[in-house]
């Protein structure tokens, strides 16, 4: 019999980024005994890296803004594959969630009138992102962290959850985790479990994600029998660093373009003017003069009367345009595009508005962005797909299992707008915490089944006794290179099919890696366990990408280069597990009711 410690909670939240912390705060406020289990130290989760801001129609910087415009922008950016109800809730509630953060200590940049300032971002009609320079994520995570530790929430730092516990009718009843520091095993009985584990982008070798982004929550849900949707939609952020190689993929905030930065190719052309898809025709400036005038007005604090620069098109559009410039031989020295703000704004303004970008390029690339252009290129940044949830409650298709933030799906459709992630976390984190807690009222504490827990523990300990296998780091690197090459920004039927075969091979290799026998902070052991999730989730993504024979948002097929106006324009890919195998089916997408449909402008062709 293996040794483990047991814990009993009303609500267990897995993950301590923005969504997890917000969920835990709300669950505790509802009176639930709440715990957070997180892989890293508190305050280090991926939310900390968010730069640009949180989108909320406060109307402080432009009073023409309101929830209806935010809803419309979100649906359009998502190419109309969004869950309309989530998009509506998000647009309506994000402003209150941002105001609440301010009362919990967040100090956002101010307007001249002393209110929360808002900046422009791709796909948002009006300046909408509440921000703190270019480190908004740090501000939000620190604020929620400080609120959370004073809300009576227990925090299990540096613990990884490996299994969900379920009763006979599949209702979620808790989870099994190991302490990364000493290797000790823990079983949690919980009346509700909230997944807030973030994303999957470590599955690609060029990515902006931290080591934690191995798709744990996606895999936990899948293995528990929950459904995943939209897994083919992966956002390749257009501007990651490209040089030097060791920093390739690190995010360069969209805020650079929001503050007036322009994209140029090796011939000095602002190529975004030639890359406006039909659905956005007429929305953006058509001459450099108009674009420059927009920047001038925005910098002067005036209400913009001309159209915004095409650099502020949605991320999928800009990423594909950069990719095309490079492919056609007009890339920058190291295979990207030039992003130039030095010629648009003064050095003082750049340092005030984009301090961490200035620091990052100076320290890591030896580039002074107040004097010279940055080299940027696409980097795997965000997964739109994830656990299928109820729009109101965030409950998954498994009773008692909730999901919020990047691990959940629906809000963003085929492509997420910048700034809609931080707001997603606080809007749906709150809802998940609230409904997960309400569900526990009057409920008996679930019993922990020792046999199930011991089987899970045995599986967790198994890699420690392997000998002479591959270094898990080697398998990890090769898996990521494969996904980058075959399931990257531009996909083909042939590549995706070989990726599926490759993944079968990786699945085998993962079972025989040798991380060494130590249980004390053994990074190799942790990686050996994370790899199982990475293979499953890479498989789910590849399968969905293979099935969708069109190009839309964060899914681009070289062999089907345009959006389908037929079936795929209103169809969702649904992934679940049938025994050990990952299966896919298609489902008709629910359309918005008439009063919301009227807010959309679908007349223009989709892209």
């Amino acid at each position: 019999m293996s040794e483990y410690e047991t814990h009993e909670y009303d609500v267990v939240v897995i993950g301590a980024g923005g969504a997890g912390l917000r969920a835990a705060i709300e669950a505790a406020r509802e009176g639930a005994k709440t715990a957070i289990i997180c892989k890293s130290l508190l305050g280090k989760a991926h939310t900390v890296m968010a730069e640009g801001g949180a989108a909320a129609a406060l109307g402080n910087a432009d009073d023409r803004d309101g929830w209806k415009t935010h809803f419309k922008d979100t649906m359009k950016g998502g190419k109309y594959l969004n869950n309309w109800r989530m998009a509506q809730i998000h647009a309506k509630e994000s402003a209150d969630r941002v105001r609440e953060l301010e009362q919990w200590g967040a100090v956002f940049d101010r307007t001249p009138k002393g209110l929360i300032n808002q900046r422009n971002f791709g796909g948002h009609t009006y300046p909408r992102l509440a921000h703190v320079g270019d480190s908004t994520g740090l501000e939000i995570i620190r604020t929620l962290q400080e609120k959370g530790i004073h809300s009576g929430v227990d925090v299990f730092m540096e613990y990884t959850v490996t299994h969900l516990l379920q009763d006979d009718d599949t209702t979620c009843t808790g989870c099994v985790a190991y302490n990364r520091v000493d290797g000790a095993m823990h079983a949690y009985s919980a009346k509700s479990v909230i997944l807030a584990t973030g994303g999957i982008t470590r599955c690609w070798s060029i990515c902006s994600g931290s080591w934690e982004y191995t798709g744990d929550g996606h895999a936990l849900a899948l293995n528990a029998g929950a459904e995943l949707i939209d897994m083919e939609f992966v956002q390749f952020h257009p501007t990651g660093m490209v040089w030097p190689p060791s920093v390739r993929g690190i995010l360069v905030t969209e805020g650079v373009r929001g503050e007036g930065g322009v994209l140029k190719n090796s011939e000095g052309e602002r190529f975004m003017f030639d890359n406006v898809p039909d659905m956005f025709k007429g929305d953006h400036a058509e001459t450099e003069e108009e674009a420059t005038e927009w920047v001038r007005q925005v910098v002067a604090g005036e209400i913009a009367s001309v159209r915004r620069p095409p650099e502020l098109l949605t991320r999928d559009v800009v990423a594909k345009a950069i990719n095309k410039e490079v492919a056609e031989g007009r890339g920058s020295t190291h295979g990207g595009a030039y992003l130039d703000i030095a010629n648009q704004r003064s050095a003082e303004e750049i340092i005030a508005k984009l301090p961490s970008m200035h620091h990052q390029f100076k320290e890591l690339a030896g580039v002074d962005i107040t004097k010279e252009p940055m080299e940027v290129g696409p980097t795997a940044h965000y997964v739109m797909g994830g656990v299928r949830v109820d729009a109101e409650t965030q409950e998954s298709t498994i009773s008692g299992l909730y999901a919020a933030g990047e691990v959940a799906s629906g809000l963003h459709g085929a492509n997420r707008l910048g700034g809609n992630s931080l707001s997603d976390l606080i809007v749906f984190g709150k809802r998940a915490g609230e409904y997960a807690a309400k569900r526990t009222v009057g409920m008996a504490q679930p019993t922990i089944d020792a046999v199930t827990v011991e089987a899970a523990i045995a599986e967790n300990l198994e890699p420690l006794s392997r000998e002479n296998g591959e270094n898990p780091g080697k398998v990890y690197d090769e898996l990521r290179d494969m996904m980058q090459a075959k399931v990257g920004i531009i996909r083909t039927d042939a590549d995706l099919k070989t990726a599926i075969t490759d993944l079968d091979d990786f699945r085998q290799r993962v079972t025989s890696t040798s991380p060494g026998p130590s249980m004390v902070y053994n990074s190799g052991w942790h990686q050996a366990l994370d790899l199982k999730n990475m293979v499953d989730i890479s498989h789910a993504c590849t399968l969905a990408a293979l099935t969708r024979t069109e190009s839309r948002g964060g899914h681009t097929r070289d062999d089907f280069p345009v959006p389908d106006t037929g079936m795929w324009s209103h169809t969702t890919n649904v992934i679940s597990k049938d025994g050990d195998s990952i299966t896919i089916r298609q489902e008709e997408l629910e359309q918005p009711p008439e009063e919301l449909e009227q807010l959309l402008d679908r007349s223009k062709k989709e892209a």
Binding site: S40, L41, L42, G43, K44, V48, M49, D96, R99, E100, Q103, G105, V107, F108, D109, R110, K113, G114, L115, N117, V132, G133, S135, G137, L138, R142, Q145, E146, I149, H150, M157, V181, S210, W211, P244, P245, S246, V247, I250, L251, S356, H359, Q360, E363, L364, A365, N471, G473, K474, Y476, S514, P515, G516, S518, V520, Y521, N522, S523, G524, W525
Partner: protein, 251 residues
Amino acid sequence: MTEIKMKVFRGEEGEGELVDYELELDEGMVLLDTIHRIQHEQDADLSCRWNCKAGKCGSCSAEINGKPRLMCMTRMSDVIEETPEDEVITVRPLKAFPHVKDLVSDVSWNYEMAKAVVPIKGPEEPDWEFTQFEASRAQEFRMCIECFICQDTCHVLREYRKFDEFGGPRTMVRLANFEMHPMDQEDRIPEVKNEFGISYCNITKCCTDVCPAGINITDNAIIPLKERVVDRYYDPIKRIWRTLTRQNVRY
């Protein structure tokens, strides 16, 4: 491609030694890349913390050639340049805190300190109004990434081990953040003096020198807090005035 040698501390709970590694270096590598390369090519069980790899999360603090800094923001070209030719680059865990394994220290004390600070308390009504000028003062302190390099450097903690009496520079930055927040109504001055022991700081500015977020810890956080403590406790005229005007102030 360059071949380099470096020594990394390996061991558990303080017991251990510097272990030699040889590896290839690519252009632009930072120190954290070399640790990852050792993990992936030589020793899978080498322990280190990291997350963002961009200087934003403060996870990967270590002592490189004896100086605490972020491994992700330390370029190998700079480390090679600073290391004398007859010496080898060394990487050790933060020394001020209990050792766990390899490059990982137990920093949980800092989280206890965070919990001991009374959080912000402002007006109940939303849409607070204050200027960017007022915001900027608190925002400087909010740039802290909690790498705990300042704590590791502060001799009151590192050498004199005053963990029970002194909160350290990170805690002072947190206190300053709340105390200088334009809308905060809480009073933490007695705690600044007593529980967090601000008088232990003799303003040597070591913390400011090492802060990777560039926070002017000593001048902008600690000294103004010291001044508030002096005003409250050691200015007899102000004290008499407060008594005469019946101001309800805690001591």
